[in-house]
């Protein structure tokens, strides 16, 4: 499975839909998600955390990289 999800430039709620789809098909592992806006960053983080995953956020240039682990 490809655990890198690039949702840069997509407007809400598309980033959340993409990430939720990936996370709901897995029970463990690590995902990296690239987002380009603070809104998508916060929404993806809240969604993943709500599904019981741990999320770390790091800036990456003008974007953000979220590392999601079980």
């Amino acid at each position: 499975m490809d655990n890198a999800i690039d949702v840069r430039g997509l407007s809400c709620p598309e980033p959340v839909i993409e990430v939720k789809k990936a996370l709901s098909q897995a029970t463990s592992g690590e995902f990296t998600v690239l987002v380009s806006s603070p809104v998508a960053r916060d929404n993806v983080k809240r969604t993943a955390t709500g599904m019981g995953w741990k999320v770390e956020v790091a800036p990456e240039g003008e974007d953000f990289k979220l590392t999601i682990t079980s």
Partner: protein
């Protein structure tokens, strides 16, 4: 309660209080805030339509854009971006406005009208939810307007300069700017108060991402109550405020700036809700996005401005007398356009093509 939850609840409460206060300070009844009405008034002030009773450069709109800008700059979230299907977004903005003006209010005013006892808005609520639900069906079919790109800061600042330009025109009041002498456009709070209320709302909405469409969309799509908490708090506070101040007048008849055509109240906001899902935000949210440097948000706002002009120039807007034939046809045409936009930008496009057959790539 998490920090985010407190922020979204507090935003709803403050906007609810401001909406009630603005009416006491001069805004039309049940119109403390109405993004559609206020953008329509700006279109009138700029001479884009000639409906003499709805022309004023509403400082609340200016404040919302500038508030979104100030907050995004202060918290380092200003993000100059755009380029995601701008022409489609322009049309979605125009349609969002046409639907709202059939009902006579944006979704925010729908809640404020309901809080004031206007039961016609009670018909519009299921209409709005229905529209959002249809939009969600397309989201589930992978609807997307494509990716935006980072852009130069100068491009993201266009919305700020536009807001400042309107502010200068408001204060200078040159003769080519129209100001209503009667009707809703002539009713307003002192400009600095309106501007301040808009600024505060803009800051809070930028921080909390308050969105009337997002609240309902996330509740249906993800069972996520986060944004819904904000709009619920806003409604309850506005309701309490109107009860306390004696502005709660329950009924269908003779409500301020409203009509009793139930089916068109329902369908008008269904159009707005559907368009808002495809555009990724309600009218207020588009103003905040524009302030944050998102030119896709700004192009949607410009679409709304044009939609207001189209509505009044072609008699598509509702009025206290009801909804005319032109408006009824426009609602039908808007629904068809939205469905076409939905199909054209989702996975349905390929399945439709598959059924029609005989398609050939240009590449």
């Amino acid at each position: 309660m998490s920090k985010d939850k407190i922020l979204i609840t507090a935003s709803g409460i403050v906007v609810g209080v401001l909406a009630v206060a603005l009416v006491h300070l001069g805004n039309p009844l049940n119109m403390g805030f109405c993004i559609a009405c206020f953008i329509r008034d700006i279109a009138g002030a700029m001479g884009m339509h000639q409906a003499g009773v709805v022309q004023y450069l509403r400082p609340e709109i200016i404040g919302l854009i500038l508030g979104g800008f100030v907050a995004s700059k202060f918290w380092r979230e200003f993000n100059s971006s755009g380029g995601s299907s701008p022409s489609t977004r322009f049309i979605l903005g125009a349609i969002m406005m046409i639907g709202a003006l059939v009902f006579l209010g944006c979704p925010l005013r729908m809640m404020l009208r309901l809080a004031g006892g206007d039961l016609n808005a009670l018909v519009a609520v299921p209409g709005y939810v229905f529209g959002v639900w249809i939009g969600i069906l397309f989201l589930k079919k992978e609807f997307t307007l494509g990716r935006s790109q980072h852009q130069s800061s100068a491009n993201g600042l266009v919305s700020v300069f536009l807001a400042l330009f309107w502010l200068v025109l408001l204060l200078a009041a040159p003769t080519f700017i129209y100001f209503s002498q009667e009707g809703p456009g002539s009713m307003y709070a002192f400009w600095a108060v309106s501007l301040g209320a808009g600024l505060l709302t803009g800051v809070l909405a930028q921080r909390s991402r308050l969105c009337t469409m997002g609240g309902i969309r996330d509740l249906i799509l993800f069972r996520d109550t986060h944004l819904f908490t904000g709009i619920l708090a806003l409604f309850l506070v506005a309701l309490a405020g109107k009860l306390v101040t004696g502005l709660f007048e329950p009924g269908f008849l003779e409500q301020p700036v409203a009509h009793t055509d139930g089916i068109w109240n329902f369908l008008g906001l269904a159009v707005t809700g559907f368009a808002a899902v495809l555009a990724g935000g309600c009218p207020m949210r588009q103003l905040i996005l524009a302030g944050e440097g998102n030119s896709d948000g700004l192009i949607t706002v410009l679409g709304m401005l044009s939609g207001a002009a189209i509505s009044h120039n072609f008699a598509l807007a509702g009025s206290p007398d009801g909804v005319g034939l032109n408006a009824q046809i426009a609602v039908g045409v808007c629904l068809v356009i939205l469905i076409l936009i939905g199909i054209g930008n989702s996975g349905l496009r390929s399945s439709f093509r598959g059924k029609v057959g005989n398609t050939r790539s240009l590449n």
